[in-house]
């Protein structure tokens, strides 16, 4: 009886914790992959490759498997003559679904892992004492393996997506990259519009960026982060 009670408490707590993401997910939603994609298309047609690439990148964060987003992004980058990144096999393998789907998948995997853990503690007891009958022990093992795989998939996806969260897109043509974060700083090199760079620091209206082994400061007005602050 006591084992039954403990299992019920554990499952209730996990169920209550699951409500947190549900509530968070239910907040007002201003971003839509299709809306961002359409917006990027309109910028591309308006001859604004920087803003187009920015919104394609944002749309791709929400719908990484959408082939239209990927195709138009490459088209605009090709037209703007900026380098294009080719995803590796690992990146393609762990990006089989959108981040929201993978979030719930990962959460489900963790719940499965927890459930198998709970079941493992009662494995030595008889069914009347709250234990799992031995004929269902394969189910416990299966849920553990499945939970581990699902949560691992989500973790791998996070590893791939994490750098994209710190990327930014150059919005103005021939943007000077300066040696210091001041308007009078000497320019080191010039970046074309629509190039995607990595942000590493910010200071007084300037952003420290890295691009193909080079780094320098760009005015924040000339650059837009893929994920708005």
């Amino acid at each position: 009886m006591r084992a039954h009670r403990d299992t019920r408490i554990l499952l209730s707590v996990l169920a209550l914790l699951s409500l947190g993401p549900v509530v968070a997910h239910a907040a007002p939603a201003p971003y839509s992959a299709d809306g961002l994609y359409n917006l990027a298309n309109s910028y591309a047609r308006a001859g604004k490759p920087g803003l187009a690439v920015l919104n394609y990148e944002r749309a791709r964060l929400l719908a990484p498997t959408d082939p239209d987003i990927e195709a138009n992004l490459r088209q605009v980058q090709k037209s703007a003559k900026v380098p294009q990144a080719t995803p590796s096999a690992f990146e393609r393998a762990v990006t089989i679904a959108g981040p929201t789907t993978l979030s719930w998948t990962g959460l489900g995997g963790i719940l499965l892992l927890g459930a198998s853990l709970v079941a493992g503690t009662s494995a030595g007891r008889s069914a009347s004492a709250g234990g799992i009958p031995s004929r269902y022990r394969w189910l416990r093992r299966l849920s553990a393996v499945l939970g581990l795989a699902l949560s691992g998939l989500t973790v791998c996806n996070a590893v791939v997506v994490w750098p994209q969260l710190h990327q930014a897109v150059i919005l103005t043509p021939a943007t000077p990259v300066r040696v210091a974060p001041v308007p009078m700083g000497d320019p080191l090199f010039v970046l074309p519009e629509a190039e995607t760079v990595t942000m590493t620091a910010e200071h007084e209206g300037f952003v420290l960026i890295h691009s193909h082994g080079r780094s320098g400061w760009v005015a924040a007005a000339n650059i837009a982060p893929v994920v708005p602050h």
């Binding site: 914790l17 699951s18 939603a29 809306g35 997506v161 007005a221």
Partner: protein, 615 residues
């Protein structure tokens, strides 16, 4: 040439008379030294060596007198004595018996040379040329070879004020051999700045005589208040006449310096020519009414301002320019421009100066201040002010200018979903107008054809919206779930595991106790009945079961020999007791021995310990 030949030393006849006239002269004048000896030649005369005096043979005469039939010839050599500086000079006697002669040279009392002797800094400088005439504010040297003049303003000046001055050095053509340096100020109360390296050169008539006038433009800057005497001087090498003025009529008649030099009428001298001293009153800047932003600018200025652009986006750097034009000390013209303006980020300004004259008193100083707007919408920057002291009006002035208004658009970086608000706006859409994704949806309902055939068309919006572009699994509210769940499950599992371990141990103990009690029960009953045979028989059965279980044998396989060997091998502390129980049991069973004084409790404890140890 003949005169020079006389100067060579000869041995014959010694001089008889040496005269010096006059004995007192002024600097710039010459004296005449006459050496008279008997005979027809003076080849043996050695010219005297006196520091500060130059001796030059200018003539020789012979005189023959017949007195009472006797002929008396005398020869005289005339030397020109030219002092190089003032003082008292002693000319040694030409013969051992002659007395030394004293020449007193007074300082020049004519031209602007007096200040030289009053200024200790000039003690080692070359002598000034003797004072000459002064007309139209120009005072030439004594021989009229050169002059220096400085044009100063005819008013009081202020500390820090930049005073334009013209320094003129006039040189009589042919009389000045070289100019040995730039004009310099006497005294330390002023600084002479921005002296032009290349002077203007004009030909000018001064008192009807041709002069080459070099003019330097410069800026005079007083460093402290007070009344000061100011003079400027210039080092020159001039040709000085070697004959007294009264004897130089022939020189003036010759006119041409070449001719004068040819006849030995001039000699080269390094002199420093000074301008007539002038008094200048320097006033301190008044403290009353001094603006807080006064930076020390003195002069007359005007300001204007402009912006690099009148429209910009948030975050775009703009340049606000302040132009200060006029006349004055531009090196003290400074302003912080704008500081701490709401909705603007300001940076320290940089300045540049473009002079419109040779000395930098007139020009335009431009300050450039980078500004970055932080809020969209029409913006009006505060007025720019610049304070200075006007020496003409003798008061502080504050100039003011209003920068042009500027319109700030939202930043391109703020281009959130929905900008442009309508996808059909196409190229005319204005990026940056913040709208929501909902605003983009109607546009997506009628997707336009893409302009590029290679581009894929718009989507009809069907997918769900997201609150953030950050993946759900990286948001703190979501990330907290697995972490808390794992922590809770881990804690729960740990507690359960620890509790289970304790329960197993207790249960095992309980089972051992119960099993031992079950086997001891017949022994206790036999003891209560006083039946020793039954007691030891029950004890043997219990021990045999316990030990057989310990050694994993069947009870019937356990023989007496085997029992003794295994107990010895186990080093069982109760081995002797156990073996004695088996022996007593056999004795009671087979020998019929009456065991009345038996200690049942002792044997019961031995068996019990073996039973508990076995389980």
């Amino acid at each position: 040439m003949g005169l020079c030949a006389v100067a060579r030393a000869v041995a014959a006849p010694p001089p008889v008379n040496v005269t010096l006239e006059p004995r007192q002269i002024s600097l710039g004048e010459t004296a005449q030294l006459t050496i008279t000896s008997e005979g027809m030649g003076m080849d043996g005369i050695t010219l005297p060596q006196v520091a500060g005096l130059e001796f030059r043979v200018v003539g020789q005469s012979r005189r023959v007198e017949i007195i009472n039939g006797a002929t008396l010839a005398t020869t005289s050599v005339i030397l020109r004595v030219t002092p190089e500086t003032a003082g008292i000079f002693t000319i040694p006697g030409m013969t051992p018996n002659s007395q030394p002669l004293v020449l007193r040279v007074n300082p020049d009392n004519g031209s602007g040379s007096a200040s030289q002797y009053n200024n200790p800094n000039l003690a080692n400088r070359p002598p000034l040329a003797a004072g000459g005439s002064s007309t139209n504010g120009i005072r030439t040297t004594a021989d009229g070879a050169a002059f220096v003049r400085m044009n100063l303003p005819k008013r009081d000046v202020y500390v820090g004020e930049s005073i334009p001055v013209d320094i003129e050095v006039g040189m009589r053509a042919g009389f000045v051999q070289s100019l040995n340096g730039l004009p310099t100020l006497t005294g330390n109360d002023f600084t002479l700045n921005n002296l032009s390296r290349k002077p203007e050169r004009v030909e000018k008539l001064v008192d009807g005589k041709p002069f080459t006038v070099l003019t330097w433009h410069s800026v005079l800057a007083p460093v402290k208040p007070g009344t000061f005497t100011l003079s400027v001087q210039s080092p020159l090498t001039i040709r000085v006449r070697t004959r007294a003025a009264r004897d130089s009529l022939i020189d003036d008649l010759l006119g041409d310096p070449f001719m004068q030099n040819f006849f030995g009428a001039t000699v080269a001298k390094d002199v420093t020519v000074s301008s007539p001293p002038e008094d200048l009153k320097v006033l301190a800047l008044p403290t009353e009414g001094r603006p807080t932003d006064f930076s020390g600018a003195v002069g007359s200025f005007k300001i204007a301002s402009d912006l690099s652009a009148t429209t910009a986006a948030v975050g775009d750097p703009l340049t606000l320019r302040l132009h200060v034009t006029g006349t004055g000390n531009f090196d003290r013209v400074d302003t912080p421009m704008l500081e701490h303006v709401e909705h603007w980020k300001t940076y320290p300004p940089k300045s540049s100066f473009k002079e419109s004259d040779a000395i930098g008193v007139k020009g335009e100083k431009t300050f450039e201040q980078p500004l970055i707007a932080s809020h969209p919408g029409p913006q009006t920057l505060p007025d720019l002010t610049f304070s200075y002291f006007d020496p003409e009006t003798r008061r502080y002035e504050t100039a003011r200018t209003a920068p042009p208004p500027v319109t700030i658009a939202p930043a391109l970086a703020d281009a959130t979903p929905g900008a442009p608000s309508s996808a059909t706006a196409g190229a005319s859409a204005t990026p940056g107008s913040p709208t929501t994704a909902a605003a983009a949806r109607p546009a997506a309902a009628v997707p336009p054809e893409p302009s590029s055939p290679e581009m894929r068309p718009d989507h009809a919006i069907t997918a769900g919206a997201a609150t953030s572009l950050v993946p759900l699994y990286l948001r703190p509210t979501f990330l907290a779930v697995p972490l808390l769940a794992l922590a809770f499950a881990g804690g729960w599992f740990g507690m359960r595991h620890r509790g289970a371990s304790l329960g197993i141990s207790r249960g095992r103990n309980r089972r051992s106790e119960a099993s031992a009690n079950r086997l001891l029960q017949p022994m206790r009953a036999a003891a209560r009945a006083g039946d020793a045979a039954a007691f030891f028989t029950a004890a043997c059965i219990a021990l045999r079961e316990a030990l057989a279980a310990r050694w994993q044998l069947a009870p019937e396989q356990l023989t007496a020999d085997d029992l003794a060997a295994r107990l010895a091998a186990d080093a069982n502390p109760d081995a002797a007791g156990v073996l004695e129980i088996f022996a007593l049991a056999d004795e009671a069973k087979y020998a019929g021995r009456d065991l009345k004084s038996i200690d049942y409790d002792r044997w019961t404890q031995v068996v019990r310990s073996q039973l508990l140890e076995a389980t």
